[in-house]
């Protein structure tokens, strides 16, 4: 079966592992468990009438303590750039990470995931900013790993973009 390598990128505590867990196992844990290193999961999906395996690389969130190894991204077919919508800084950090990825690798499909959309009262990403990002070519999904909202949609959206490439 066709396999597509998908990397989960973004700052620490934005919900990358939670999104994978929700997508693969339909589970969510309220407590934050930081990821050290890389965890690889697989899930078979159907997009455009075709079954294929998404190989999901959940890569630790970058911060002052851990810098990401770009070698982990080698051979990826697409990535989800995950941002915590309640922490504006994670968008800026995520976009900076994206710039580094673009500089080093051939362009691949990506989806900007604004996660924790269940916490709307703490939301810090302005509509105007989203509009600008959309205008700049970003595909944006508002997800909640907690409720499961739009999680599958985000992965499938990326799958479709990868297949279309």
């Amino acid at each position: 079966m066709l396999q597509k390598k998908v990397c989960m990128l973004g700052s620490f505590s934005v919900g990358k592992s939670s999104l994978v867990r929700r997508f693969v196992a339909s589970m969510f844990d309220e407590q934050y468990h930081t990821t050290i290193g890389v965890k690889v999961d697989k899930k078979v999906v159907n997009a455009n009438g075709e079954d294929f395996t998404l190989v999901l690389w959940d890569i630790y969130g970058e911060d002052a303590f851990q810098k990401m190894r770009m070698s982990y991204l080698r051979g990826m077919h697409g990535y989800l750039l995950v941002v915590d919508g309640t922490r504006r800084q994670t968008l800026e950090d995520g976009l900076a990470l994206h710039d580094r990825v673009v500089a080093e690798f051939e362009k691949v499909p990506a989806v900007l995931v604004l996660n924790k959309f269940d916490l709307t009262d703490q939301w810090e990403i302005e509509q105007a900013q989203e509009t600008q990002l959309t205008a700049a070519g970003w595909t944006i999904e508002h997800t909640s790993a907690k409720t499961g909202a739009a999680v599958e949609k985000a992965f499938l959206h990326l799958a479709q973009l990868m297949l279309a490439k």
């Binding site: 930081t34 050290i36 709307t120």
Partner: protein, 697 residues
């Protein structure tokens, strides 16, 4: 057992698995097959059986690229994969790390099970990242509280502006002595309240320290002796009332004078706080003495009283702690001495208190002497206009009459400022917003423009930008003074950046108002090259008031449960108007006619997600709602104002619904009040009746 076998068994026991790379992603096991390998990759391969690790683990497949490169280069040492996690057949997660090495010409892959140390490592990272998240949360909380504080202070200063102005105007009237005494008391108390509000703002304002550090050494050095004399002049009447003598102690008129690092207005307040403190504890028929002494590079100032001295069970430094009120609780909020401490320490000084040997207490502070530059600057200023000491007299007319435009959205404040300026001999006229100010300036020239910061449509700063754009290249420079309700030095800095020439804090003090307007106008030289401020941002288009989308009828159901607010409205109006039916009706009519427009502006701002417009419109409506003492409605408007200021509009729609509901309740109540009172009011509302009653009182 051969040595090699012992070594391989040892490695397996320590959680290592050793492989030789055969090419094409395949390996041969060297030594033992640890249990964790079996858990992840099934049973032990037999003999020389090839193991396709790259097929079994996408992570290893990826690492193999780096490993092959390493082996090809015959580099010394090893290349590591970094940590990754594999899931075992039993569902457990097993943390691993691989390293590629070359041994005796063989390509070796060593995989280490990190289970023993991984937990510890994860705990460290978890703790560190949790701390970072907590830190982020804390910063956000601080930011929110600062915004809230600024809003509260702004709300508190608005009515105070009016009070100060009213007392000042009354003081200028020909009043009987008994009444004049009450007016003076009212004026003094409203000024004291103003000092307290400013104290709260400054004590908590986080930007103050930076701002003042920037200022130190660059502005006019204040003269501590002049400040002490000023304090004595201001406080003597209050001390006299309590039969306490307030005197200036002996001090040598040193050749270096008494110029120190600091800010004159704040030193005035430090003396004020220390004197208020002394006044509370000094017995009748005793003296309170202010003195100054020269101390190597510092000026030492003290306030001595002849009271009971410091409480024996309290350390002197505790007196200067936040919210410390002393044992007798004779003080107020416990902010005064705290303010003194943080202010003096920011200037590189110190403050303290002690019980004097001869009885009584001494509160003292020490400030560094001003640098030569600051002193000469101050001296130059003194030789010139002596602006710092110039204190215009209340009833004195200005030397030159100025044409002044006052742009302020709160009608009462606007009228008061105009009245105060006209009393001074100037010709002032008012407009309600920035757009009207621009129109007025097109029609005629004004010497000075006073602009409130927060006005509907375009703000004071945006209006300034528009004025400066018009002036560009003409050689003209309109004197503009900004009025801010927040009164921080950061506001002043922002005003200057926006192109304003000076700023005034609300509540606007009469003396400060005259001083600012007249000092600014003194610098006016038509045609002279004033600072040309190129506008760098567009003036926001004022949004037209949309027709109200939700009428009071939409919340008719909730009106049936008419809450306590409505009762409160009636009580509040009766109390504030002294039961003046005509005034109540007039207030209600004005609100019913105008407030829906303000609400429409808020709706429009929420729909357009225009945070600045929302803050301005909610601010305006909040002021109107407060007149009727409708706390829930005021709170709803304040909430929207805060959301607008914080540029956080996610909850704005929900907030708007609350406001609409509260607004409808008030609207309903006011309509009822109007209809119920109409006949009675008609019978009493002859033009002169109100005036007659007022006179009789």
């Amino acid at each position: 057992m051969p040595a090699n076998s012992i070594f391989e068994s040892f490695l397996a026991g320590q959680g290592y698995a050793l492989f030789e790379y055969l090419g094409d992603g395949e390996f041969r096991l060297i030594g033992g097959w640890p249990p964790w390998c079996a858990n992840i990759w099934d049973s032990q391969p037999s003999g020389d059986q090839r193991i396709g690790l790259a097929d079994k683990s996408p992570f290893l497949e990826n690492f193999l690229v780096d490993a092959e490169e390493f082996w090809r280069a015959s580099s010394p040492g090893a290349v590591n994969s970094g940590n990754w996690i594999e899931r075992g057949a039993d569902g457990r997660e097993i943390p691993l790390e691989a390293s590629a090495r070359s041994l005796d010409g063989k390509r070796i892959l060593l995989i280490h099970n990190l289970s023993e140390t991984f937990g510890q490592q994860q705990q460290w990272f978890q703790t560190a990242r949790n701390s970072l998240l907590e830190h982020e949360k804390l910063l956000k909380e601080i930011q929110k509280k600062e915004i809230l504080l600024h809003c509260i202070v702004h709300d508190l200063t608005q009515p105070l502006s009016a009070m100060n102005g009213v007392f000042h105007l009354l003081g200028g009237e020909n009043l009987p002595d008994a009444l004049r005494k009450y007016v003076k008391a009212g004026e003094r108390e409203s000024q004291r309240q103003e000092l307290m509000i400013r104290g709260i703002l400054e004590a908590f304002s986080s930007d103050l320290a930076t701002q003042q550090a920037r200022e130190a050494g660059t502005h006019e050095a204040p003269d501590l002796l002049a400040c002490a004399e000023q304090a004595i002049e201001e406080f003597s009447p209050a001390f006299r009332e309590r039969h306490i003598r307030l005197v200036l102690g002996p001090h040598a008129a040193g050749p270096r004078g008494w110029r120190v690092v600091g800010d004159a207005s704040r030193i005035d307040r430090i003396f004020g706080n220390l004197l208020e403190n002394a006044m509370r504890y000094a017995p009748k028929e005793t003296s309170v003495t202010i003195g100054l002494q020269d101390q190597d590079g510092f000026v030492f100032a003290y306030v001595d009283d002849e009271g009971p001295g410091l409480p024996p069970d309290q350390r002197p430094d505790q007196l200067f702690a936040l919210f410390s009120k002393g044992k007798s609780h004779a003080g107020k909020a416990g902010l005064g001495l705290y303010f003194c401490k943080i202010t003096v320490e920011r200037w590189g000084g110190a403050i303290g208190a002690e019980t004097r040997e001869r009885g009584g207490s001494r509160f003292w502070f020490r400030l560094p002497r001003a640098t030569q530059t600051a002193e000469s600057k101050a001296a130059a200023a003194a030789r010139g206009k002596s602006v710092d000491k110039e204190r215009p007299h209340k009833n004195k007319k200005a030397e030159k009459s100025l044409r002044i435009l006052v742009a302020e959205d709160t009608e009462l404040n606007r009228d008061l400022i105009i009245e105060l300026l006209n009393k001074r001999g100037h010709v002032a006229e008012g407009v309600a917003d920035g757009r009207q100010a621009l129109v007025a300036l097109e029609k005629q020239d004004f010497d000075v423009v006073l602009l409130d910061e927060e006005m509907p449509g375009i703000t004071g700063r945006q209006t300034t930008a528009a004025i400066r754009r018009r002036e560009a290249g003409t050689g003209k420079h309109q004197i503009i003074i900004g009025i801010s309700g927040h009164a921080t030095q950061d506001d002043e800095h922002r005003f200057r950046e926006a192109g304003m020439d000076a700023s005034l804090a609300k509540p606007v003090e009469v003396k400060t108002l005259y001083k600012a307007v007249e000092a600014a106008a003194q610098n006016l030289h038509p045609g002279a090259a004033g600072p040309q401020h190129e506008a760098d941002h567009n003036v926001a288009a004022a949004s037209s008031a949309a027709p109200p989308g939700t009428s009071a009828n939409s919340t008719a159901d909730s009106l049936a449960n008419s809450p306590a607010d409505c009762e409160e409205v009636v009580t509040h109006l009766r109390r504030t108007t002294g039961g003046n039916e005509k005034l109540i009706r007039s207030l209600a009519s004005t609100f019913l006619a105008d407030a829906p427009k303000a609400l429409a502006r808020i709706r429009s701002a929420v729909a357009k997600k225009d945070a600045a417009e929302l803050a301005g419109a909610a601010h305006l409506l909040k002021g109107s709602l407060a007149i009727f003492g409708a706390p829930s409605a005021v709170a709803a408007a304040r909430n929207l104002e805060i959301l607008g200021r914080a540029d956080s509009l996610r909850e704005a729609s929900a907030g708007l619904r609350v406001l609409e509901s509260e607004f409808a309740l008030l609207q309903h109540e006011l309509r009822r009040i109007n209809s119920e009172r109409q006949p009675k009011v008609k019978s009493r509302s002859k033009p002169t009746s109100t005036r007659k009653r007022k006179r009789a009182r």
